[in-house]
C-alpha cells in the first residue's frame, strides 16, 4: 500500500442541527482512493452519500476527521484555497445536473475554465473554447452547443454536466447519483459514458449510487450504512 492516494478520508464525522438537537449523519467514515480508480459508493437514500461527497469535494467541512487530497491535508483550508482546489483538481457531477440556466451548453462547460483562468482567460479564450467543443463532442453533443439547459433533455443536460466536470482534466471525479433523475435507459447510457470517459482520462471516480448495477462496472464498492463504511468489497 505504498502507492500514492489521490483521496483519503480519515474518521469523518458530520451531523446536522435539527431543532434543539443534532442529527448525526456520518459517524467515522474512512476511505481511500487510488489514482484512476473507479469506486462505487452504495447506500440507501438518506444514508449520507451526498453529505460525504460534499465533505470530500471541499464544499462543506466535517465536524471531525481529516480529508487528504493527493497526500495533502486539506481539512483546514480556507475558503479561497479550497475553491482553487475545486477549480483545478476536482470535477463534480450532480443528480440535479446543476447547470446555469442562462448559459448555453458551451458556456456552461467553459464556466470552470473562466473561474480557473481569472484574468488570463482573455488570452486563452480561443484555446479553451476549442477544448470545450472537443469535450462536448466526446459526450455526443456536437450539435447542441448553443442550446440552453431548458432546451435540452435530462440526459443531454447530464452530458453537459459531465463535459463540464471533465473540462479542467481533474484527477478526481465525484459523481452524486448522476443517473438518479433519468429514466433507466438514459441512465445506463450516461453511466457507460461517465465510466468510459473517466477511464479514458485516467481520473479517479467516486460514484454515489443506490443502483446495484453500477457495482459490476467499478473496481470496488463501498457500502455506507449507519454513518460508517461497512464491507468494502475489493474489486477484481
Amino acid at each position: 500500500m505504498s502507492e500514492p492516494l489521490i483521496l483519503e478520508a480519515r474518521d469523518l464525522h458530520k451531523s446536522y442541527r435539527m431543532g434543539a438537537g443534532r442529527l448525526p449523519v456520518l459517524r467515522g467514515v474512512s476511505l481511500q482512493l487510488r489514482p484512476g480508480e473507479v469506486v462505487a459508493l452504495m447506500g440507501a437514500s438518506g444514508s449520507g452519500k451526498s453529505t460525504l461527497l460534499h465533505l470530500l469535494g471541499l464544499l462543506d467541512r466535517p465536524d471531525q476527521g481529516r480529508v487528504l487530497l493527493d497526500g495533502a491535508d486539506v481539512t483546514e483550508l480556507g475558503q479561497s484555497a479550497a475553491a482553487r482546489l475545486r477549480a483545478g483538481a476536482i470535477g463534480f457531477v450532480f443528480q440535479q445536473f446543476h447547470l446555469l440556466a442562462d448559459l448555453n451548453a458551451l458556456q456552461n462547460v467553459l464556466m470552470p475554465r473562466r473561474i480557473a483562468c481569472g484574468w488570463s482567460w482573455w488570452r486563452r479564450a480561443g484555446r479553451e473554447r476549442e477544448r470545450a467543443r472537443a469535450i462536448l463532442e466526446a459526450v455526443g453533443l456536437a450539435g447542441r452547443l448553443r442550446h440552453r439547459p431548458a432546451q435540452l433533455s435530462g440526459g443531454e443536460q447530464q452530458r453537459v454536466a459531465i463535459a463540464r466536470a471533465l473540462v479542467s482534466a481533474p484527477a478526481l471525479l465525484l459523481a452524486d447519483e448522476p443517473t438518479g433523475n433519468l429514466d433507466s435507459a438514459t441512465g445506463a447510457d450516461i453511466l457507460a459514458l461517465l465510466l468510459r470517459l473517466a477511464r479514458q482520462r485516467q481520473a479517479a471516480l467516486l460514484l454515489a449510487t443506490h443502483d446495484a448495477h453500477v457495482a459490476a462496472h467499478s473496481d470496488r464498492v463501498l457500502q455506507l450504512v449507519d454513518g460508517t463504511i461497512v464491507g468494502a468489497a475489493p474489486g477484481p
Partner: protein, 408 residues
C-alpha cells in the same frame, strides 16, 4: 472579470436588471441635460461679456501730462506675443434724458438716465455686435437697445448728453448733442441698458482734450488664455517702463455675475449627486433581490471553484455592467434631450414656451456639453454603483455552497 460574460447574460435576460439600468439612465440623462444647460448659460454669458470687454482690459491708473500716453501704451502692448488686437477706449459718465422730457434743464427730473459713454476707434473695434461701423460720421452715437427703448429714441434722433470734465475745483459741466446712428445688442442686459458708443475723438474733444483714453481692450489669439495674455501685457508694460496700470482679464471684470452663476452650479452639483445616489440606490435593492434569486447559480459557481472573493467580484462586475449600460443609455438620452430641447420644452409646457427669451437675453436655451463635468458625472455614477454593490456582493460571498445548491 472573466465572468463578465455571465454578468452580461444576466443583464440581458432579466427585465429587473434592465429596468434598473433604465433608472440609472434617467438619472444620468437628467443631470447631463441640466449640466449642459447650465454650461450653456455660462458660456453664453462669457461670450457676451467678452464681446464687449475683450479678453484683457488695461487701465492706466493715472491720467495727465506726466502719465504715459496712448502712443506709449500702444507701442508697448502691440509687441505682446499672441495679441490679436489692442483697441483704446475712452469711457466716461454721462446723463441723458428721456425723449421729450426737459430732463437736462431740470436735474430733479426722474426722467434722467445715467449711462456710460464708450469712446471707441471704429476702425479698430472687433466686437461685431457693437456695430462700430455706424460711427463713420463724427458726432454719431449708438445706444444699447434696451436703453434706446427706455429713452424712446431711434436712429436719426438727436440726443443731448450732459457730463462733467476736469476734477476738483476745475469740475465743469459739459453738454453736447449726438446724432443717434442706431443701436447695438450684446445680449448682456446691463450692458445693453447703460451704454452708448461714440467716437473716441468726439468724446475726447467733448471733455476738453485732456483725457485721450481710459482703457485699452486686448484680444488674444485663439489658443492663448486670458490670464496668459494679461501676464504678458503686464510684462510688456513693465519692460517699457510704464507703471501704475491695472491689467485685468474679462473674468475678473465680470466677476460678480460669473460668481453668481458658478455658485448656482455648485449648488446644483449637490442636487446632482443626490440624483446619482438615488439612481445607484435602486441598484442596491435590485442586486440584493438578484442575489436571492440567483442563490442556486451562486452555489454552482462555488462548486466549480469560485471562492468568496470571486463571487463578490462577480456581483460587482454585474453592477458595473448595469451601471455602465445605464450610464451609456443616459448619455445618449441626454444628448437627444439637448438636441431636442425645444420640442421637450413645448411638450412639458403644454404648447407654451417655458423659456422666455426676453428674460434671459438668449433667443434659445443655450446648450454646451462640457467634457469635464460629463466625465465627473460618469465617474460618480459608476463609483456610486460600485459602492452600493458591496452589500449584495458580500451577501452572495457568504452563502454556504451546499445550501445555495439546494436552492434550485
Amino acid at each position: 472579470m472573466s465572468l463578465l460574460h455571465l454578468a452580461w447574460t444576466y443583464f440581458r435576460r432579466r427585465a429587473l436588471l434592465t429596468l434598473s439600468a433604465l433608472g440609472i439612465a434617467l438619472g444620468v440623462a437628467l443631470v447631463f441635460t441640466t449640466l449642459a444647460v447650465v454650461n450653456g448659460f455660462l458660456s453664453e454669458l462669457e461670450r457676451t461679456l467678452r464681446e464687449f470687454s475683450g479678453d484683457v482690459v488695461v487701465r492706466p491708473l493715472e491720467i495727465g501730462p506726466l502719465a504715459a500716453g496712448r502712443a506709449e501704451y500702444m507701442r508697448a502692448l502691440e509687441a505682446v506675443d499672441g495679441l490679436e488686437s489692442a483697441t483704446p477706449r475712452l469711457n466716461w459718465f454721462g446723463l441723458v434724458g428721456r425723449r421729450g422730457a426737459r430732463a437736462l434743464s431740470d436735474p430733479r427730473s426722474a426722467d434722467l438716465n445715467g449711462l456710460l459713454l464708450v469712446g471707441v476707434e471704429p476702425e479698430r473695434e472687433r466686437a461685431a455686435a457693437l456695430h462700430a461701423e455706424l460711427l463713420a460720421q463724427p458726432g454719431s452715437l449708438i445706444l444699447g437697445d434696451e436703453l434706446a427703448q427706455r429713452l424712446g429714441v431711434a436712429a436719426g434722433d438727436a440726443l443731448e448728453v450732459l457730463s462733467y470734465r476736469g476734477s476738483g475745483r476745475d469740475l465743469a459741466p459739459v453738454r453736447a448733442t449726438f446724432q443717434v446712428a442706431g443701436s447695438f445688442r450684446t445680449g448682456q442686459y446691463e450692458q445693453d441698458l447703460d451704454r452708448a458708443i461714440v467716437r473716441r475723438e468726439d468724446l475726447e474733444r467733448f471733455l476738453g482734450g485732456r483725457v485721450p483714453f481710459t482703457e485699452i481692450v486686448l484680444r488674444g489669439a485663439r489658443d492663448i488664455a486670458p490670464e496668459q495674455l494679461a501676464a504678458r501685457a503686464r510684462m510688456a508694460l513693465a519692460e517699457a517702463g510704464i507703471r501704475g496700470a491695472d491689467v485685468r482679464t474679462w473674468r475678473a471684470q465680470g466677476g460678480n455675475l460669473l460668481a453668481a452663476v458658478e455658485n448656482q452650479r455648485g449648488t446644483l452639483s449637490v442636487v446632482f449627486f443626490a440624483i446619482v445616489a438615488v439612481a445607484a440606490f435602486q441598484l442596491l435593492a435590485t442586486l440584493t433581490l438578484t442575489v436571492t434569486e440567483k442563490r442556486h447559480d451562486i452555489g454552482v459557481l462555488g462548486a466549480l471553484g469560485a471562492g468568496p472573493a470571486r463571487v463578490a467580484g462577480f456581483f460587482m462586475v454585474l453592477c458595473l455592467v448595469i451601471g455602465a449600460a445605464g450610464t451609456a443609455l443616459g448619455l445618449a438620452l441626454g444628448l437627444w434631450l439637448c438636441r431636442n430641447l425645444h420640442v421637450v420644452e413645448l411638450w412639458i409646457g403644454g404648447g407654451e414656451r417655458i423659456f422666455t427669451p426676453e428674460l434671459y437675453q438668449f433667443p434659445e436655451i443655450p446648450i454646451a456639453v462640457d467634457p469635464g463635468s460629463v466625465s465627473v458625472l460618469v465617474g460618480a455614477t459608476l463609483a456610486a454603483a460600485l459602492l452600493f454593490s458591496c452589500i449584495p456582493a458580500w451577501l452572495a460571498a457568504r452563502l454556504p455552497i451546499v445550501r445555495a445548491l439546494h436552492h434550485a
